[in-house]
Amino acid sequence: MAKPKVATTSLAGCFGCHMSILDIDERILKLVELVDFDKSPIDDIKKFTGRCAVGLIEGGCCNEENVEVLRSFREHCDVLISLGDCAIMGGIPALRNTIPLQECYDEAYLNGPTVHNPSRQIPNDPELPLLLHKVYPCHEVVKIDYHLAGCPPPADTIWEALVALLTNKPVALPYELVKYD
């Protein structure tokens, strides 16, 4: 029987959660015995090659591309996991959520203390994904099956949850592995 597949992505995140996946150390060898990685920055596969058992989502949705990627993960993955605080509540990018988007643009491209922008242009190329008016947690965009909290979630948290899911056991994390920081 073919191994189940795992896909991962970083939306509006800092790749810290992916670093935490790598932080499972030598257990990553056990992990590749259990699964194949599909679309993921870990193997640099850009497009889904088929149905995945588990999708790990780092980061929330700050632009339209994030939403598209998240929806395609929902479409291709049996189980979708919000990995880390940004996916769960927006995280650091969501600090802008209490500030109108135009003010954010103005600060970043016109008025910020270190800005040098003589033409006073705000990037608006059609190639660039449009920013959403605020950063959304993943579960406010698609159905999310599990949430692994943390900034980043500890490697043990990720390992325990993945192994439980891949061996058809309930995800029952001990108290010390569920932390919001």
Partner: protein, 235 residues
């Protein structure tokens, strides 16, 4: 009048003293009733409703309800835990709680309650309302993003410090902590040694130049859930 009062919590016999609240009688018997706005030494307030229990089938705040003979109290039932979980969920989405960089993280009672109830993500949509930060005081700051309106600072300043530095203004979603001055916290009589400066259960009123003093792994709620210190005293 008898000097003890017998009642039950989840079927367990508890002995309280006349005038004692359900929450305190339970605590003395090693039964933890989750709470947020209650603080020993401050007047009971009944604001957060996290300590709500069923008394003879009726919801009552355990921090304000005094004990009476033969009371039947339901505390950690599935129904009450679901109710409390919803309250914590609502507090998380109403404020802007960025645990990942908060100085209080690991020692925060709101966060600890969420851990205790096993909350992975709140079920309600986040509101992301703008809230004011006041850095004007030399030794203490207010970050209203993290405020849960428990009123501990109000009571501590008024009743313990005798200064009445804090109070509530506004109603409903607009309710917020205000300071007793023309403008800012720096204009008040608040001193860093005041009870009000350390009464906050969350990271809304924080002493400056303390920062992340306790390393991760050694903080109050890193290893054991909030309330376990009370439960461990049970006979």
């Amino acid at each position: 009048m008898s000097s003890t009062i017998e009642f039950t919590i989840n079927g367990k016999d508890i002995t309280g003293r006349p005038g004692q609240t359900v929450l305190e009688a339970a605590q003395d018997a090693g039964v933890y009733i989750p709470r947020l706005c209650y603080m020993r030494g401050l007047a009971a307030f009944g604001a957060c409703r996290v300590c709500t229990v069923l008394v003879n089938g009726r919801p009552q705040a355990a921090c304000t309800q005094t004990v009476a003979p033969g009371m039947v109290v339901e505390n950690n039932t599935e129904k009450m835990t679901a109710f409390r979980r919803n309250l914590i969920d609502m507090l998380f989405v109403e404020g802007n709680h960025f645990c990942m960089f908060c100085e209080k993280s690991g020692n925060c009672e709101l966060q600890a309650l969420a851990y205790r109830f096993g909350i992975a993500a709140p079920k309600y949509p986040y509101m992301f309302q703008p809230r004011e930060v006041d850095m004007s005081h030399g030794d203490v700051f207010i970050d209203r993003n993290r405020c849960v309106l428990c009123g501990r600072c109000v009571r501590a300043s008024r009743d313990v410090d005798g200064k009445h530095v804090f109070d509530f203004v506004g109603r409903g979603l607009h309710k917020r902590i205000a300071v007793n001055a023309e403008a800012l916290l720096g204009d008040t009589e608040l001193a860093v040694t005041d009870k009000a400066a350390e009464a906050c259960p969350v990271g809304a009123i924080v002493k400056k130049r303390v920062g992340y003093a306790v390393p991760v792994g050694q903080r109050l709620y890193d290893h054991k859930p909030i309330g376990s210190e009370i439960e461990s005293t049970a006979l």
